[in-house]
């Protein structure tokens, strides 16, 4: 399956910015089941310099310096990504087969196993994900009984978040603490991912933040408008002896062919699509437009796809 992704992030500044440094992370990463066929990055302020590098989590980062005065900056990533569902299925089957109990996982993580070393960097609180409260840990432990299979437990845990929490945009932003989300029992995908990550780290399991996209299909008979998608977030759990496995608590699914991976990190801060530092007296406003579609579908509806532009403020579904 081939997806084309359009992801535009724009800053509008209140007053003239003389110079700015920006970090873009808009290129989807390659994995065993995902291949990037094409990628381009468009920058609309001139002149600029850009430089690409791989960060510790394996994500492609682009450092962009805008070298002249500007009032706005938009950075657009366009990618074509191929997903191999059969490889994902095989991976999930493999994880299930090798999964161990929660108790065995705890024991193993306490000892030295070379294969687990990389995963251990995802065991601790990070900039945006505070340590879990006791209530959050207790909530997670309802699924994670000592003798329970870790995969099964995580799958159930994902389902419980899906049922116990209400999807509501506008209630939270990237800085809303997970404890607040846990109390309010509502939020968006980012909140559910971060909440799950905090709780799982709290009970001793390595867990990472996944940022990406999900294909949305319009209701029957309706045409999909361009730019109405949003970026998406979910989490990935490390099961010792088996490996990393992703869960999407917002949709209560294990990501397969509908999820396109952008990157991993300890939390959103590690993988924010565009971050900028400017010297200016005023504030700035951020807007994001995302479009994700499967290639065959796009060819049929190409003529209609370029009207009805709609800008969205940054929310993640």
């Amino acid at each position: 399956m081939i997806y084309t992704i359009y992801h535009k992030t724009e800053f509008r500044y209140q007053s003239m910015v003389t110079y700015s440094h920006n970090m873009a992370r808009l290129k989807p990463r390659e994995t065993g089941y995902q291949k990037v066929l094409d990628f381009s990055l468009e920058i609309d302020a001139f002149p600029f310099e850009k430089r690409e590098f791989l960060n510790m989590f394996g994500n492609v980062c682009t450092h962009i310096v805008i070298k002249n005065s500007h009032l706005s900056l938009s950075v657009t990533g366009r990618s074509r990504v191929e997903i191999f569902p059969e490889i994902i299925d095989a991976h999930i089957a493999n994880i299930k087969a090798n999964s161990i109990t929660y108790k065995a996982a705890k024991e193993r993580l306490k000892s030295f196993v070379a294969a687990d070393m990389q995963a251990k960097q995802f065991m601790f609180d990070s900039e945006l994900i505070a340590p879990a409260t006791e209530e959050m840990k207790a909530y997670a432990l309802e699924s994670f009984k000592d003798e329970r299979d870790l995969f099964e437990a995580a799958n159930e845990f994902m389902g419980r978040i899906y049922h116990d929490f209400e999807f509501l945009s506008g209630f939270s932003d990237v800085t809303t603490p997970v404890s607040e989300i846990f109390k309010a029992k509502k939020g968006v995908c980012q909140d559910f991912a971060q909440l799950a990550i905090s709780a799982l780290r709290g009970i001793g399991l390595p867990c990472k933040y996944v940022s990406g996209y999900i294909e949305t299909v319009p209701a029957e008979g309706e045409k999909k408008l361009f730019g109405t998608d949003a970026s998406h977030a979910w989490f990935s759990l490390y099961i010792p002896n088996a490996g990393w496995i992703e869960f999407d608590p917002t949709n209560n699914v294990i990501p397969k062919h509908q999820h396109i991976l952008l990157g991993y990190g300890r939390d959103y801060a590690d993988i924010a699509p565009l971050k900028g530092v400017v010297f200016s007296s005023g504030g700035s406003r951020l807007s994001v437009m995302v479009d994700v579609r499967e290639e065959e579908l796009q060819e049929q509806s190409q003529e209609q796809s370029f009207f009805g532009f709609k800008s969205q403020t940054q929310t993640q579904s």
Binding site: T18, H21, R51, N55, M56, K67, S69, A114, M117, V277
Partner: protein, 822 residues
């Protein structure tokens, strides 16, 4: 039970140790009176050199404390120090290898030498510096160790300092001060010099900054940092440019120093800013102390950082239990310097031990980059211990426990007594080739009270000089005839852009403050005498003046849309234009901007300007908080402020030369004066008004320019519109006239470093303005057509002139402060 501690000077039998004999004899023969007088001498030297260590009591109150130094040195025999130095070199090498490994292959983790959690649970581990470790310039160039003498009589390492070690400047200052007093006090005692170490340090910069024209910089958080004294001192001693984050810029993947003459490449940066604050783009994004993009410049390899970002991971007591193993693994050697026995709670066995023996241990957070936590369990109540146990169990990776050690005491002079105090030595090493050079000296910090084991400069306490006894191998080394001065390079070419910009704005805001104060004062005074002549014309002229105030301060809509014209409403609006803190253009707002510019220029303005600034600020705040609304009270306050502003102006003009930064200040002030005067001219002199009102208005204008007497002297006549226009706009002899200032600006621009043969973008508008002024004829511009009440031609020309000055300011700012095109 703790073993009785050692004393540095006395052995178990209370006999003086051999290497202390000379010092002891000297102290004996000089006596307390002499010691007291030496202490006074030391205090005087330190004060004279302005040696301070700023302690923050709370956010607002900063105590600029004088540094203190004890007249009795800490003495170590050269034989012992040589052995210690071997251990320090080994530890520096080891930490360097650990650093390089953690940021490259991470074999230490993969091969179970250091537990992954000790690294990943510590916020000092910079994921952003991933893969930097194999770079040639990713080295622990500068390392400091805190040491104390342990129960076995050896020097033990207590702490490692790696990201931006402090104290070297204080150690140097202590030595210079001790040199000055020890001729009389310890004439017989030779000590090793610090010279070699500083030579090594200078060479390091020379080797690292190989490119011609490149500069080495010391990055300081700024004058508010507790150790700012030493940043200024060291940069001057090591020939580094002292800079704050805003002085630097990253572009073309390299680091640049901004100066009025242009950008200069920075190859080597000695930073005194902690890791996480070095780059708001990739690290802590709220930091104003760093440079955006710095980390990426390091990633490309274009800047040498002393020390590399990521070094904070070494300031990690959690490493202690694994140092022995790491040393054998990386160096194939046994660890030379002893450490305090340390248990990392992340391991089950250690955790059990710690929980069981908690009351005899000291518990510390491994990560001082987040918070400094230390629990002296011996002194804790059972309930507190229980809480601590819970804390450790919840987060075992974050804690270590250490054995409580009685370190040695040292004689300390206080109030005509000599008493034993605890002390720790900060020793400094610098990388030289594949080895390290250890300074033959160090900074000794002494606990604040007799019974305190805590040694910290933040908590008070005092210092000592560390003497390594003996003569240097080479006699040639003379501690260069260096004299520290707080010299800041302000030659136009090298003036830092940050300072230049602040000087420019200082000029603009000071001019704006003065003119605004004077004009408001005129209005308030006229209001006060309003009822003396209760005439319609007075009322109308006042309305013109009030509108002019709104235009002058740009506090729109202000008087332009004042609904009610009662005297209360008028006074409220005037008070708002004076006092409102959040409304741009008000006098208070402008004064704040002025104070802000002043703040950033502290080191080049005269000390008195600082005091004046404080006084003015305090009185202004008092005025802001006062409810009094009487005209006389307000006028009095404005008059006071005006006096401060004038005195301040005089001080600014006196403390710097024009060819230095003052030029920037003058350009700013001339542009501002002209823009304000043009605004007043448009508001007050483009209307054909009744003669009875004219006097009122012209009088206000001239008083606002403080030029009433000059006018009278010049024209020997009463106020007439034609004459006043001629005087303030076109009179070449009158130094405050627009045309006179315009000519001066043209000349000023020629001295600037980017001045060229052709007219630059910022000069062009001023030449145009000059042309307009030259060809302006009063009789023509003040001619009215029938039925007209406005001198439209005059108004049009004034508006055009205003725009030209604004263009000039914008272009000037772009050319000199933005560095966009370089």
């Amino acid at each position: 039970m703790l073993k009785a501690s050692h004393d540095e000077m006395f052995d178990e039998n209370k006999n003086i140790k051999k290497h202390w004999q000379e010092i002891a004899d000297s102290l004996e023969s000089s006596g307390f009176d002499e010691l007291e007088s030496k202490q006074n001498e030391i205090d005087w030297f330190l004060k004279e050199n302005d040696v301070t260590y700023n302690v923050y009591e709370n956010l607002d109150a900063k105590v600029n404390r004088s540094w203190s130094l004890d007249p009795i040195p800490f003495v170590i025999s050269s034989q012992e120090w040589d052995e210690t130095a071997i251990g320090l070199k080994q530890r520096a090498k080891l930490l360097n290898l650990i650093l390089k490994d953690l940021y490259s292959e991470r074999k230490l983790i993969k091969e179970n030498i250091i537990p992954a959690e000790v690294i990943f649970a510590h916020k000092g581990f910079a994921t952003e510096a991933f893969d930097f470790g194999s770079k040639e310039n990713f080295q622990l160039y500068f390392y400091a160790a805190d040491m104390a003498r342990g129960p076995n009589g050896k020097m033990w390492v207590v702490n490692d300092r790696a990201q931006a070690p402090s104290g070297l400047g204080y150690a140097l200052e202590n030595r210079l001060t001790m040199n000055a007093i020890s001729k009389g006090l310890y004439p017989e005692t030779p000590r090793k010099r610090l010279f070699h170490f500083f030579e090594d340090f200078r060479n390091l910069f020379q080797n690292l900054s190989s490119e011609q024209e490149s500069v080495s910089v010391l990055l300081t958080p700024g004058p508010y940092n507790e150790t700012y004294f030493e940043h200024a001192f060291l940069s001057s001693y090591l020939n580094l440019t002292l800079a704050q984050g805003d002085d630097l810029l990253v572009k073309n993947d390299a680091l640049w120093l901004k100066s009025l003459g242009g950008l200069k490449k920075v190859q080597t940066l000695l930073r005194r800013v902690d890791d996480r604050y070095c780059d708001p783009l990739e690290l802590n994004d709220s930091s104003r102390l760093g440079v955006s993009g710095l980390l990426d410049a390091a990633r490309v390899g274009n800047v040498n950082l002393i020390n590399p970002i990521g070094s904070a991971i070494l300031e990690n007591i959690g490493l202690n239990p694994f140092m022995e193993k790491a040393c054998e693994y990386l160096l194939g050697e046994k660890l030379i310097l002893p450490q305090i026995a340390t248990w990392w709670c992340g391991q089950e066995k250690a955790l059990k031990f710690v929980l069981k023996n908690l009351e005899t241990l000291i518990v510390k957070n491994i990560d001082r980059t987040v918070t400094v936590e230390a629990f002296f369990c011996k002194k804790m109540r059972e309930e507190e211990l229980e809480n601590l146990r819970e804390k450790i169990i919840k987060n075992p990776y974050q804690y270590v426990a250490q054995e409580e050690i009685n370190f040695s005491t040292i004689p300390f002079y206080a109030d005509k007594k000599i008493e034993p105090r605890n002390a720790s030595i900060r020793a400094f090493s610098i990388k030289v080739g594949d080895d390290y050079s250890v300074m033959n000296g160090g900074l000794v910090r002494v606990s604040a009270t007799k019974d305190s084991l805590l040694v910290s400069s933040q908590k008070g306490g005092t210092s000592k000089d560390l003497w390594i006894l003996g003569k240097d191998d080479l006699e040639m080394c003379i501690l260069s005839s260096f004299k520290y001065s707080k010299y800041v390079d302000t030659s136009i070419e090298n003036l830092s852009t940050l300072k230049a910009e602040n000087l420019f704005w200082l000029g603009r805001y000071l001019a704006r403050s003065i003119t605004t104060t004077r004009f408001v004062l005129q209005i308030v005074k006229k209001l006060a005498s309003f009822y003396r002549f209760d005439m319609q014309s007075t009322k109308e002229s006042q309305e013109i003046l009030h509108t002019a105030l709104t235009h002058l301060t740009m506090t729109y809509p202000g008087f332009l849309s004042l609904k009610e014209h009662s005297s209360e409403a008028i006074m409220d609006e005037i008070l708002s234009v004076i006092k409102d803190t959040s409304r741009p253009g008000t006098l208070t707002y402008t004064l704040f901007m002025l104070l802000n510019a002043n703040l950033n220029l502290k080191d080049i303005l005269a000390m008195e300007s600082w005091k004046l600034h404080d006084k003015m600020k305090n009185e202004w705040f008092e005025f802001l908080n006062s409810e009094k609304k009487s005209n006389i009270y307000i006028a009095g306050k404005l008059e006071n402020t005006l006096i401060y502003l004038m005195a301040y102006k005089e001080l600014v003009q006196e403390s710097i030369f024009k060819e230095q930064g003052l030029l920037l200040y003058e350009i700013g002030s001339k542009i501002e004066d002209t823009i304000l005067l043009l605004s007043l001219c448009r508001s007050l002199m483009t209307l054909d008004i009744d003669k009875s009102m004219e006097y009122d208005i012209l009088d206000s204008l001239l008083h606002t320019m403080e030029s009433f007497n000059a006018y009278r002297a010049h024209y020997k006549s009463s106020l007439m519109l034609e004459n006043v226009v001629e005087f303030v706009v076109l009179n070449r002899q009158f130094p405050k006239s627009i045309i006179h200032i315009c000519k001066e600006l043209i000349d000023d621009f020629k001295i600037l470093p980017k001045s060229k043969e052709i007219v630059s973008d910022y000069e062009e508008p001023i030449y145009k303005a000059y042309k307009i002024l030259e060809s302006m004829e009063i009789s023509k511009v003040l001619r009215l057509k029938e039925d007209e009440v406005v001198f439209f031609e005059f108004d049009r020309l004034l508006a055009e002139l205003s725009q030209l000055y604004i263009d000039c300011s914008n272009e000037f700012t772009k050319t000199y402060f933005s560095h966009n095109d370089e």
